[in-house]
């Protein structure tokens, strides 16, 4: 698998979340994702970027265009140095929230992506990686 393009975007404010969405949409169009897939990855990115901001106290998003054979994909990595998640299974459960949201963000992002990976260490931070393949 080769990475043909990498960008890093900061997530420090609500405006940054909007910028992440716009950038992800542009990259999704660049690799030729259809309208539905574009909307899916943009929405997933929006959820995860807002998690990074609200729960992780801000962080970064790394966006990569990856290629495996003839398939192209968009991979996004959301990283923060926040308090971390103690119980990931619980966090992934729909309707579970600690912040007054709908509690659908993490589970929803997983259902909207082709690949989903989450790792978190309490006290150190959280990293969520998603990918959408063409």
């Amino acid at each position: 698998m080769t990475i043909s393009k990498t960008e890093t975007l900061p997530v420090r404010s609500g405006d940054d979340v909007v910028r992440v969405r716009q950038r992800v949409r542009a990259l999704a169009i660049e690799i030729g994702l259809g309208l539905v897939d574009q909307t899916k990855i943009v929405t997933a990115a929006s959820e995860l970027a807002r998690n990074t901001l609200d729960y992780g106290k801000g962080g970064d998003v790394r966006a990569e265009i990856v290629q495996a054979g003839l398939r192209k994909g968009l991979r996004l990595t959301f990283e923060d140095q926040g308090p971390g998640i103690a119980d990931i299974d619980q966090a992934m459960t729909d309707r579970f929230t600690t912040g007054g949201g709908m509690g659908l963000g993490l589970g929803g992002a997983k259902r909207l992506s082709s690949e989903f990976h989450i790792e978190s260490t309490p006290g150190t931070g959280t990293r969520v990686t998603i990918a959408r393949w063409k």
Partner: protein
């Protein structure tokens, strides 16, 4: 005995005023600001003369560009940058106004200092420091004015983009455009609830055709708005959910427990029906002649 930078500079700009001013204007004329026709030559000349006069006076109080003697000069430069920011000058053009003064003063220092190398060096260092400081000041004002413009536009967009439209007696429409963050939802909800009271509305149609991304936060805001409208006694219909957004919302697991329709027209038809009305065609549609 050699003089310090301030004295050298003060002497030079007093003695050689005409020559420096002329060289400065010549260099400004070459710059892009005049070429683009955004500013007239007469205006540029007046600005240059005012700035130069104030610079001469300021130098009598020392070299500190942040000091009290430079206050009127900073004020004038601030006004010039502000007007340039609004007129749409580039940052380079704006900063060059003051930086273009460097070379003419260097030239003049060389002429007036004669053979005294230490005077010349002291003068050049002093000019460099002072003009750089003033250049940065113009940039700061320039950026601040741009930010002011952007901030004002942001506010205008927020106000303009949340109109509540009366479609019929008791039927309101709220076309949402752009990103629906917490701040905007507040404005939207306030406008809608007030309009429901003012218009004695029974039905409010919230159209989200112009909302590019519907994530859980937007959905939550929508549901809160709908719930608040219900408490006011008005039913809500959500319209303008595009196919890709419908699919995405299903994957997200968001359930909008409201009546929803694909287009505003469909939603309006439902609203008319619910209020006991019907749109009827009075005449048959004009038939198109076929050959």
């Amino acid at each position: 005995m050699s003089m310090d930078g301030a004295e050298v500079l003060s002497r030079t700009v007093t003695q050689d005023e005409a020559a420096i001013l002329e060289a400065w204007l010549a260099s400004l004329r070459e710059g892009a600001s005049l070429q683009s026709g955004r500013i007239r030559e007469a205006e540029l000349q007046t600005q240059a003369k005012t700035v130069f006069g104030q610079l001469r006076e300021a130098l009598e109080g020392g070299l500190d560009a942040d000091g009290g003697s430079f206050a009127p000069l900073r004020e004038t430069l601030g006004e010039i940058s502000r007007s340039r920011a609004i007129q749409g000058f580039t940052p380079t053009d704006t900063a060059n106004f003051i930086f273009a003064l460097k070379e003419p003063i260097f030239e003049s220092l060389r002429r007036t200092a004669g053979s005294d190398a230490s005077d010349l060096a002291a003068g050049i260092v002093a000019v460099g420091k002072m003009l750089d400081r003033l250049g940065l000041h113009t940039m700061e004002v320039f950026l601040a004015s741009r930010e002011e413009v952007i901030g004002r536009q942001g506010q205008e967009i927020a106000e303009l983009s949340t109109p509540v439209v009366r479609l019929w007696d008791g039927i309101l429409a709220l076309p949402l455009i752009g990103t629906l963050d917490s701040a905007r939802t507040g404005v939207v909800m306030e406008n809608l609830l007030q309009a429901i009271v003012d218009e004695e509305a029974e039905i409010a149609i919230i159209d989200i055709t112009g909302v590019p991304t519907v994530d859980t936060l937007v959905a939550q805001h929508l549901l809160k708005t709908v719930a608040a409208a219900r408490l006011m006694g008005a039913d809500c219909i959500v319209s303008g959910i595009r196919p890709q957004i419908a699919q995405t919302m299903v994957h997200l697991g968001v359930e909008l427990n409201v009546v929803s329709k694909a287009t505003l027209a469909d939603a309006f038809a439902v609203a008319l029906k619910q209020t006991g009305r019907k749109v009827v065609r009075q005449q048959a549609a004009p038939t198109v002649e076929r050959r």
